[in-house]
């Protein structure tokens, strides 16, 4: 457990975040307004929800590159079915069934066929996105249909405010609490850490690792689809083009930046939170400074590199601390 030291990556990133936050608050009067801070969190809430889903997978020593496909295709299918005149219950069930089936497919291939998660999810994401883009939808943008009142109820996950806080921020909070509870207080959560720390050992100890993997990938697909629903409600439409974007790298970025090692077994929801907040602060500050999108990417890359380099200096790796599967 090399990250348990005083200067763990989480501490480094938290320090970076605090420095950046204070710097921006002093330099930009518009930054420190409460309203702007809420906007900051709102703008990264989807990223945060996805990061939480990814974190549970990564802690269990896996990775799910298919999350963006699960984010856009099932919710878009829901909207498309409603547009085509199907009932909302039917549309919801179809979208849910697709998501679960997709998670089971991922989990089965990883757990039972023993194909590495990296390859499985890379391919399955392409498959699901392709399936959607080619057969389910005529256009890349699926509109949120205006009519049915039940659908407006569903829309409240991403639209409007409660007690002055935007809905998507609430959804991030709810997901955060659920995940924290799952990892901390449930036996299943302890299994996840055990599997990430030592998969062989976990199995020998009698943990049902294969059904656990299945559960893991079903849950990440469900979380991704939920994030997609929040996104669609907040935008009033959902574009399957988002699959072609670099969003999945941003998700991995917040997970790794927060200090959850890709080798598994370490970290928790607080890591995701700090990673997400750092990225959110960066993006918000740069947008206020009117810095373009390409430069924003550059800065994101630099910050990640800086965090990793500082971590390597403060926590040098050696034969003892290096883990099998370290990337």
């Amino acid at each position: 457990m090399r990250s348990s030291g005083r200067w763990s990556q989480q501490v480094i990133v938290s320090a970076l975040f605090v420095l950046l936050f204070i710097g921006l608050a002093l330099a930009l009067p518009g930054f420190r307004q409460v309203d702007n801070l809420l906007t900051l969190i709102q703008n990264v809430s989807i990223l945060g929800i996805l990061g939480l889903g990814m974190a549970v997978i990564v802690i269990g020593r896996g990775v799910d590159l298919s999350m963006i496909a699960a984010l856009c295709i099932p919710p878009a299918l829901l909207l498309q079915l409603v547009q085509d005149g199907h009932g909302i219950a039917f549309a919801l069930m179809a979208a849910l069934a697709l998501t679960v089936a997709f998670g089971v497919l991922n989990g089965w291939l990883i757990a039972y066929a023993e194909v590495p998660a990296l390859f499985v999810t890379l391919a399955s994401g392409l498959f699901l996105a392709g399936l959607g883009q080619a057969f389910f939808f005529q256009l890349e943008t699926v509109q949120w249909p205006p009519g049915p009142a039940t659908l407006d109820v569903i829309a409240s996950v991403g639209r409007g405010r409660l007690l002055g806080v935007p809905a998507s921020v609430w959804m991030l909070g709810v997901t955060l609490l659920l995940m924290a509870a799952y990892l901390r207080w449930f036996t299943l959560g302890a299994y996840v850490y055990a599997m990430g720390d030592n998969p062989q050992g976990a199995r020998t100890a009698g943990i049902p690792t294969r059904p656990m993997l299945l559960l893991q990938y079903v849950s990440s697909a469900l979380i991704a689809a939920f994030a997609g629903l929040v996104l669609a409600a907040s935008l009033g439409s959902l574009s399957t083009r988002i699959f072609n974007s670099t969003l999945i790298y941003d998700v991995i970025l917040v997970v790794v930046l927060g200090g959850i090692g890709l080798s598994g077994g370490r970290g928790g929801v607080s890591n995701v939170l700090i990673g997400t907040l750092l990225i959110g602060t960066l993006l918000n500050g740069l947008t206020i400074l009117d810095v373009g999108y390409s430069v924003q990417n550059l800065v994101k890359g630099l910050v990640l590199l800086a965090a990793i380099v500082i971590d390597t200096f403060l926590n040098p790796r050696n034969e003892e601390t290096a883990q099998q599967g370290d990337i």
């Binding site: 009033g236 083009r241 999108y293």
Partner: protein, 332 residues
Amino acid sequence: MKTVITTLAAAAALLASGSAFAQGKGLDEPIRGGYKKALTGKTVAFLPGAMAMDLAQGWLKGLKTELEPQGIKVVVRDPNFNTQAGAQAFTQLIADKPDVIVVHNPDVSTYAKLIAQAEKAGILIVQINMASVTQSTAYVGTDWVDMGEVQAEAVVKACQGKSGKVAIVQGSFTAAASAYTVKGIENVFAKHPAIKIVSNQSADWQADKAKAITQTVLKQHPDLCGIIGFWDAMDQGTAAAVKEAGLTGKVFVATSGGGETKATCDMVKSGAYDLNVSYNVPNQGANLASTIKYLLSAGVKPGQLKGQMYTTLVPVTKANAGAEGTCWTLGK
């Protein structure tokens, strides 16, 4: 004597043709045969940014309805928003040697060399709506500088007596539809010193990014009087941010798009956009097909001519969004 013979000959000719008319028979149209020969069996390849856009669907429909009945084969290569895949498809097409390639450039430079290479290989290149820096035989589509000017004029008018603060949400900086539109906006704003651009960013054609940028900008400048967005599919996010801030009607939102009913007219009617300058995709599709028919029938060789066909812009506002014919509807 000479006149007599001429008269007789003329009379004979008249009689001959007269008899044809008298019997109701047709005449051989002298140029039709050449036209048919020039067009029949030709292949036109269509390489859009992605077929999943209303724009591409509309252009393809125009190509098919006008060209297929003339015996022209229309083939499609769909790179699905992947520039790399697009360049590969283009290279493959050059090897396949269709007679014409209709190309929709994702930016001004990616296909620049391929366009020159294709024309050298004897393929006519017609660029649709987004031009590359390499000029080819024909460009059919929007005059983006004009587009910028139309939108900027509307925003200037809406900003009169207000803060004069304007935000711009670009697509990607290197696309023709972004770079040239900015030029048009600058042309107009240069004449109105009261207008100040407080934010000029790119959302990479994505609605979620457009929303995030607009939300932040609106928090910094709640007195913003206008936003110019560069594509309606992306500016759904821009409009959502304005609506969420409760500023619909207070901040003038201008955007542009292909004029499809759901994306254009419905959104203007709902108040999401105050102006959506439509480039009328069915009209562009028809112009595209006409250009190709003309080039093929005239036997134009690649590189022999270089010309443009700018299509007319239709500003859609609440005044005409409900009128028939303003928008077009995508068929199933």
